[in-house]
Chain length 227, copies 2
């Protein structure tokens, strides 16, 4: 039989493109050819070609920029779910540090069967957050990917509860982990030193200086309550 054309064929590359489109848009960034090329470390023509394929397969639509169809988003969420379940598993079960799990999950997410995914999910007690505080999309049902506010620009005097830490910069992640900046922690936000200086915070009473790069990686909410 001569090559039945399955439009929805998921390959590792297709999964990575869909996931990246999803993550870019939930970060509020424009999903352009060049943004995808930068993010995926491929050339622009590679992205153009893939967008053609995804568009033919009804996984994305192209008007100004690119956006996922309902089906494309479903597939993207499945990949994101596998990725974050794997990160959680690697950290909790194998004790892998939170700055290493992302790279591993990038590979494994394409090799995880539904059966194994379900087993991992059950073994972890159906977790809702990965080690970085990223929400794990449920197997079925709605998903909320909101990022809260960035620590950068949060006014001095606020009490700030960390909810998510971006897992994209492994070195920064390790540093933050060493300093105790993790989801769930509450920071007392102090002075933002001018001209690109550090942001002074208190963590459990201890002073800590967080550079610009770091404050842009930390997300959460301002909480009221007793100092």
């Amino acid at each position: 039989m001569p090559n039945i054309r399955l439009v929805g064929t998921m390959t590792p590359a297709v999964e990575d493109y869909l996931k990246t489109i999803f993550l870019l848009s939930t970060r509020g960034e424009a999903v352009t050819t060049s943004a995808l090329a930068r993010e995926l470390h491929v050339s622009s023509p590679s992205v153009s070609a893939m967008m053609k394929r995804l568009s033919d397969g009804r996984l994305v639509e192209r008007e100004t920029g690119v956006h996922l169809t309902a089906q494309g988003e479903r597939e993207a969420l499945r990949v994101v779910r596998r990725h974050r379940l794997l990160e959680t598993f690697l950290a909790r079960v194998l004790g892998m540090p939170w700055d290493e799990v992302h790279v591993e999950a990038e590979l494994l997410e394409h090799a995880l069967s539904e059966r194994l995914e379900a087993r991992i999910d059950a073994a972890l007690g159906h977790p809702t957050r990965d080690p970085h505080g990223d929400p794990i999309p449920p197997a079925a049902g709605a998903h909320d990917e909101s990022w809260g506010r960035s620590l950068a620009g949060t006014p001095a005097g606020s009490r700030f509860r960390v909810e998510r830490v971006s897992d994209r910069d492994s070195d920064a992640l390790r540093y933050l982990g060493e300093k105790g900046v993790r989801p769930g922690v509450v920071l007392e936000v102090g002075e933002q030193e001018p001209y690109g200086g550090s942001c002074r915070v208190l963590l459990g009473g201890e002073p800590l200086a967080l550079g610009q790069v770091l404050t842009h990686l930390v997300f959460g909410t301002v909480v009221e309550g007793d100092a």
Copy 2:
């Protein structure tokens, strides 16, 4: 820079071919084009093409049939090690039944980093056998892949200790598991019923009839000792 030619590039396909060549030869079977095609579910020309590539890359040599070079065997053993470590992990840590782990490991073995492999190995306490009794090649050093003798043809009256059960037939494996035929178990071998009939055995005193297909999947040694 125009395509540096890395001869030893491992891809999932290359890994599968090397692994299959290794397993065929350790099973004492001839490593021919058609045997590989059958084993890997690909056409003969696909095998021919791949043998050309592996041969160019000094991973195999071709005289009568095909055999691995020292480097090819090293790579094959790395894949087999990852496969069996993964099977062990899936069974022990995630409680996956022994007839399901092989299929999962087939995929995951290509996505396992050295770092994660080491973590899994340590978490399991450096196991030497997978759930089917297959020996796990060490990260470095010699490996013994001998199969012992098959239960088929073992004379009645023998006491037979099961050491390995082939993991290639998932249904048979589940059946044997249900009946308690696992590595470590000792069987009292009874009559082989003629003309392709069952082999009668006692397992823990309980009678059990094992068809031809099954006795050819069970390997071990004849042990002396008290009945």
